[in-house]
């Protein structure tokens, strides 16, 4: 799905010159301010959800080390806390922040003020109410019982659909009112994400699937939610941030288009590789594995393009936390995609399926790629919307080191633990207890990393509070990150 092509003569006319007639900084500032209300609202709500999701995630992790922890109340049991963590992080933190990113990017890229901004504000609020209702019901024991689709389909999901449609309407109205003809690749990614999300979310929540079909549609949704919603808006953001901060166009615009259209055309069938070994028609599994392997084309295209854009200029990461996070996120996208392709192979899947490896893999995608990209976006966007600089370089560094280091530890620990667990499960002479024992030390390490990451989130939330609600150091003239020693590049010779 993609953006409509206009035959508006005014836009056709602007086709010729729009990229030669540069927008002025003042004009860009006006575009930023046109979406100020929904952008700030979305980011504020996202940070609140981030903290809630962090607590839920920590509790879920601790329960692996202390199974008797907080089991007296039903709403605190693992079966409710864990899906609540997932839904809060995916729909509360990531999706709400992505609304803000979309509403900030579109006016800049379309060179027109945000349209229907108030509708977007209402959409974000409706979405948040829907999610709040869904999480409350989930903790009370009312869920749909399908992974990524646990939120109640009667009371929560309709509000999510309405909310996303309202934000999407604002995005598409802005697109329709654009003053450019050629669409930068980020527009393709962002605009396409909204109809994709609405289609897959509605399809996934239909109540009439039974048995195997239900499982297949479940993974159709879950995998596409990652690939056609979370991935797309964040790739759009990264394709904007990298060239903007470094100050040079993307290495190959053609490769960026290959990446987008490859994803759009090949991704839909990927989800069934989660059901390898299940009672599905073999052609379906084979098709899914083939589609997964074909993803190597857009993934490598994106990876090469982003690397070649930054190569030789990694020193810029010392100056810009947004670039640092965007680069790590871009690398993580390539890594998680290649890992996903590998995991789709039957021989690998046989070991990793039903183990903690899958959790490590999903955190590489949802955290190292999606969350770090959104943190990077917030470091870039908030000063421009608020017209204030982040007050503290130390807090920026502390945040990035805590969340980056913590998540690397998380992924390595659970990755190793998952493989050991899988090998133990496959060993015919070993009992199930052996697989649990082999994973236990790695789960403890995961809990340690969860605490480190949580500290990073608290630092970020505190720093965002200082930025938004105080004037402390708001106009200090300093390049953030400058103190960090250059490790990736030689010091510049003056």
């Amino acid at each position: 799905m993609s953006t409509p092509v206009t035959s508006n003569p005014a836009q056709e006319e602007s086709t010729v010159d729009h990229s030669k007639i540069k927008v002025s900084p003042e004009e860009m500032e006006a575009y930023d301010q046109s979406g100020r209300k929904p952008v700030l609202l979305g980011f504020f709500i996202a940070v609140v959800w981030l903290l809630i999701g962090t607590v839920l995630g920590d509790l879920s992790s601790f329960k692996f080390d202390r199974p008797d922890l907080l089991t007296e109340q039903a709403y605190l049991t693992f079966g409710r806390i864990r899906p609540a963590h997932l839904n809060v992080m995916v729909y509360g933190w990531a999706s709400t922040a992505m609304f803000s990113v979309s509403l900030w990017l579109m006016p800049r890229l379309c060179r027109t003020p945000l349209r229907w901004g108030n509708l977007a504000v209402i959409g974000i609020l409706v979405w948040t109410v829907g999610l709040g209702v869904g999480i409350a019901l989930l903790l009370a024991g009312h869920g749909d019982g399908l992974e990524w689709l646990e939120l109640d389909r009667q009371w929560a999901d309709p509000l999510l659909v309405i909310g996303a449609a309202m934000v999407g309407a604002s995005v598409w109205k802005t697109l329709a009112a654009r003053n450019v003809h050629h669409l930068y690749v980020s527009i393709w990614y962002v605009a396409a994400s909204y109809p994709w999300f609405l289609i897959i979310f509605l399809a996934g929540n239909m109540p009439f699937y039974k048995g195997v079909e239900s499982a297949a549609v479940n993974w159709f949704y879950a995998h596409n939610a990652l690939g056609l919603w979370l991935t797309t808006i964040n790739l759009g953001l990264i394709y904007y941030l990298l060239p903007k901060i470094i100050g040079r166009p993307i290495y190959s615009y053609w490769l960026s288009l290959v990446g987008f259209w490859g994803l759009a055309l090949f991704y839909a069938l990927n989800g069934m590789h989660h059901l390898i070994g299940g009672p599905l028609p073999s052609w379906m599994i084979a098709t899914s594995i083939t589609a997964s392997i074909m993803m190597i084309v857009p993934v490598v295209a994106v990876g090469i393009n982003q690397h070649m854009t930054v190569v030789g200029r990694f020193g810029a990461m010392r100056y810009s936390p947004a670039l640092t996070l965007a680069v790590i996120a871009a690398m993580s996208y390539t890594a998680v995609s290649l890992q996903g392709i590998l995991t789709a192979l039957v021989s690998v899947n046989r070991i990793t399926h039903f183990t903690h490896w899958t959790i490590a893999h999903s955190h590489l995608g949802l955290y190292m790629f999606v969350t770090l990209s959104l943190f990077g976006g917030m470091y870039y966007i908030l000063p421009r919307v608020l017209k204030k600089e982040w007050p503290s370089r130390r807090l920026v560094r502390a945040h990035i080191l805590l969340v980056g280091g913590g998540m690397v530890l998380y992924i390595v620990a659970l990755g190793i633990g998952g493989v050991l667990q899988g090998l133990s499960l496959l060993a015919p002479g070993e009992g199930f207890e052996a697989s649990v024992s082999s994973a236990k030390p790695w789960l403890l390490l995961r809990s340690v990393s969860a605490v480190i990451i949580s500290a990073g989130h608290l630092v970020f939330a505190y720093h965002a509070y200082l930025l938004a609600f105080t004037s402390r150091n708001s106009l200090t003239r300093h390049p953030p990150f400058y103190e960090l020693k250059p490790v990736l590049v030689k010091k510049r010779v003056p």
């Binding site: 930068y184 166009p249 759009a264 870039y380």
Partner: protein, 82 residues
């Protein structure tokens, strides 16, 4: 076999076919022409002429060759490109 998977086939087509249609429309409308200037369309006026402190002399010279002589940053760094 296909009866069991009918829903999934329909869903996949609903997701997979429109991009193909839009790709052809985009091609016909010239959306994919002039990739170079589209890639540069995100930059503000003069933005590519600002000196970047992390660039080597060679990279700075390349910037001058491509975009003209360098200008000093009119605003604070974070406001411009950090």
């Amino acid at each position: 076999m296909f009866a069991n998977s009918f829903v999934l086939i329909v869903l996949t087509l609903v997701i997979g076919l429109p991009p193909l249609v839009f790709l052809f429309i985009a091609l016909a409308a010239g959306q994919l022409d002039d990739a170079g200037s589209t890639a540069e369309s995100i930059f503000e006026a003069g933005e590519l002429r600002y000196s970047r402190p992390w660039e080597t002399q060679k990279q700075s010279q390349e910037r001058v060759q491509h975009y003209g002589s360098l200008v000093s940053n009119p605003r604070w760094e974070w406001e411009r490109w950090l």
